[in-house]
């Protein structure tokens, strides 16, 4: 006969409280990940055994500041805790996880959770950080004030969950849930009263020195309505200048190494298909993408540094006024900022936005932010066509153009949001409340780890997806072979060449030749692949002395300046990523929105590239 089912504990906490780290520490690899029925909110369940040998199931719920449930994630958390979610049992107990360095917000959540009436423990996570900062929390007093067990945890340290495990052992699990829970949506007056009570408890039980004085002084300047915006623009400008100027030596070194290796390997192989695959397909294609590693690293170096310093939240605050003017919610800043790395996590981060129309507007404009996959494309074209000279008192022209492309992405995103929210939906934005963290010195180890992860991800992608795509592109650009006696480059007879020539008339009005058209198609899988495809297509198109030349001078000779500018503008707006459309489909649970996104981005890209090509052509005539 089977014994009673293992009791289930729900892990609840504010976002970024270390909840998932604690879940991982408790469960190790004993985890199951799925989605809640009917929604795209992730359901993570695990299990562990308490010190007394009792097996326990644990559910990691999405982060929330309250049980009011304003976003899809928060609604799932509320409904699970209250036992309202179809297919979910009401949990036997609740473990509320708190970031011990920032207790104020979680105390309100604790009060709401207490009203639900289930057995409960408060886990003060990151207590080591509080102590390191010279703070202290009277855990016993806090437990008395709240009327529940309170324990310290350090999720990232071995043995850091021992106190929590012991506390879980003392909970009265397997009690029948109360027929009525005591929670109801609080009124504004009750929320204010809860805030005051949380402040009182915090004052009684916790001392946290922080660096409020420094924070106030820095905020006086960095959040100033005028100087703050000027400083933000200067920081972004410096970032893009550095991406160009600091990366150059490392890029030259990587380029020289790849070219040397390509020549050496090509010299060993006999002439034939295999040599063509290795030299024209792999070295010309993958090598063209790998060169951009230093720029990716420098871009992320700045992003991680600013995030760790606490500046990114300030940037969100500064941008809120601007975004509100376009109808976007202040919470849209973080999804849009994430989209500078990749639109996909940005679109997923839009889940934190409560209002559905606000969320859809954010999702629709997220791909217009300049993701890191566009960087290789921009860099290649800028380096080939924009002279490396100083303008406006010493600024690099190439960095200036790069800054302009990023700015074009931001401005167009705001413009599209304005059209959607102000002209079509005619909605006023909801108020935006956010907590600004204290400034702190970025930890070098954290920055180094972040860069290592991102560089590793880029290299992994180059060595897997891009390598496989380049092999296919080489194949499509090589087969079928030209008939006997045919003249001109062999690629003209290939499948890729025929597709390029077939579609070329569609793109001719915006200045694209058939080689560009060939690059656009696999560029839908990953934008930076377009650079590799251009490398391969031009390597296979080359005849005589042109063979083996680096891609940049080849493009400079083959394209006109209006074509290059049109290509850049196309990449600012075009729906060049299938994965993004797939995630929009998943997040909106509709085929309509990805179709709208594809259509408006394609139209915007075509019109903007058309205008750029013809205006630039007229000006240069």
């Amino acid at each position: 006969m089977n014994g009673p089912a293992a009791p289930e504990i729900a892990l609840v906490g504010c976002p970024n409280s270390g909840k998932t780290s604690l879940f991982n520490a408790l469960t190790g690899s004993r985890q199951k990940v799925a989605n809640y029925a009917g929604v795209t909110v992730e359901r993570k369940e695990g299990s562990f055994v308490t010190p007394s040998g009792r097996p326990v199931k644990i559910l990691d719920l999405p982060g929330t500041y309250s049980l009011r449930g304003r976003s899809p994630d928060e609604i799932v958390t509320r409904d699970v805790v209250l036992g309202r979610l179809a297919g979910e049992e009401i949990p036997d107990a609740v473990v509320c996880v708190a970031d011990a360095t920032n207790l104020r917000l979680v105390l309100r959540l604790v009060m709401e959770l207490k009203a639900v009436g289930r057995p409960m423990v408060l886990a003060l996570n990151m207590m080591d950080v509080v102590e390191r900062q010279g703070g202290r929390i009277d855990v016993e007093r806090l437990s008395q004030e709240l009327g529940i067990p309170v324990v310290s945890t350090v999720a990232i340290k071995k043995g850091g969950t021992a106190a929590l495990l012991s506390a879980i052992d003392t909970l009265p699990l397997h009690e029948d849930p109360p027929t009525e829970h005591g929670w109801r949506e609080p009124s504004a007056a009750e929320i204010r009263a809860a805030h005051a009570e949380a402040a009182r408890i915090l004052h009684e039980c916790a001392f946290h020195p922080g660096n409020e004085h420094l924070t106030r002084k820095l905020d006086a300047v960095l959040l100033h309505p005028v100087f703050g915006i000027v400083i933000l623009l200067a920081v972004l400008f410096l970032m893009f200048q550095a991406v160009f100027s600091w990366a150059a030596p490392a890029m030259d070194l990587i380029k020289a190494t790849i070219e040397w290796t390509g020549v050496e390997v090509g010299g060993v192989l006999p002439d034939g298909l295999l040599k063509s695959l290795v030299v024209d397909g792999i070295f010309a294609g993958v090598g063209a993408v790998l060169v951009f590693l230093p720029q990716i690293v420098i871009l992320f170096f700045f992003i991680i540094l600013l995030e760790d310093f606490g500046y990114m939240a300030r940037a969100a605050f500064l941008m809120d006024r601007l975004m509100a003017g376009t109808g976007l919610h202040g919470r849209a800043f973080i999804p849009l900022l994430s989209s500078f790395a990749c639109a996909i996590p940005g679109i997923m981060a839009a889940r934190v936005i409560e209002n559905r129309r606000d969320r859809i507007a954010t999702i629709m404009v997220a791909p217009l932010m300049t993701c890191s996959a566009r960087l290789p494309v921009y860099t290649l074209i800028i380096a080939a066509f924009i002279p490396d000279r100083r303008v406006l008192g010493g600024f690099g022209l190439q960095g200036l153009v790069m800054f302009g492309l990023f700015a074009a992405g931001i401005v167009s995103a705001l413009a599209v949001a304005f059209v959607m929210k102000k002209l079509i939906w005619r909605e006023a934005p909801e108020p935006f409340i956010m907590e600004l963290p204290d400034y702190k010195m970025p930890a070098p180890a954290n920055v180094a780890l972040g860069l290592w992860i991102r560089a590793g991800a880029f290299l992994r992608k180059a060595g897997t997806v891009i390598l496989a795509l380049m092999i296919l592109i080489w194949f499509l650009s090589t087969f079928p072979a030209p008939p006997e006696g045919a003249t001109g480059p062999a690629i003209d007879w290939s499948i890729a060449g025929r597709i390029g020539h077939f579609l070329a008339p569609v793109f001719e009005p915006i200045g694209f030749n058939w080689q560009i058209v060939v690059a656009l198609i696999p560029g839908m899988a990953a934008r930076e692949v377009a650079v590799g495809v251009l490398g391969t297509v031009y390597a296979l198109s080359a005849t005589g002395d042109e063979v083996g030349r680096a891609l940049q001078p080849v493009l400079a000779a083959a394209w006109s300046l209006p074509t290059a500018l049109s290509f850049l503008v196309w990449y600012v707006f075009a729906p060049q990523c299938v994965s993004t459309l797939a995630v929009v489909r998943r997040e909106t649970n509709s085929r309509f929105w990805p179709a709208v996104m594809f259509a408006y981005q394609f139209a915007l890209a075509y019109v903007a590239a058309f205008a750029t090509f013809h205006i630039a052509g007229a000006l240069l005539r």
Binding site: L273, L277, A341, C342, P345, G346, V465, A468, A582
Partner: protein, 54 residues
């Protein structure tokens, strides 16, 4: 192994790799592979917020 066989092997291997990589989660489950959302980059977006979500 002659050169043409080797080339076709490499190309088919690359195509199979990409097909598995981008196979929709539902199809993946149906043919008995590990469940999971289709992901073009397997966290290669480099984003701090990417939990292998796509």
């Amino acid at each position: 192994m002659n050169e043409t066989t080797l080339i076709y092997g490499i190309v088919l291997g690359a195509a199979a790799f990409l097909a598995l990589r981008w196979m929709p989660g539902s199809l993946r489950t149906r043919i008995g592979l590990k469940n999971g959302a289709a992901c073009a980059s397997k966290s290669a977006c480099g984003s701090k917020d990417c939990g292998g979500c796509h």
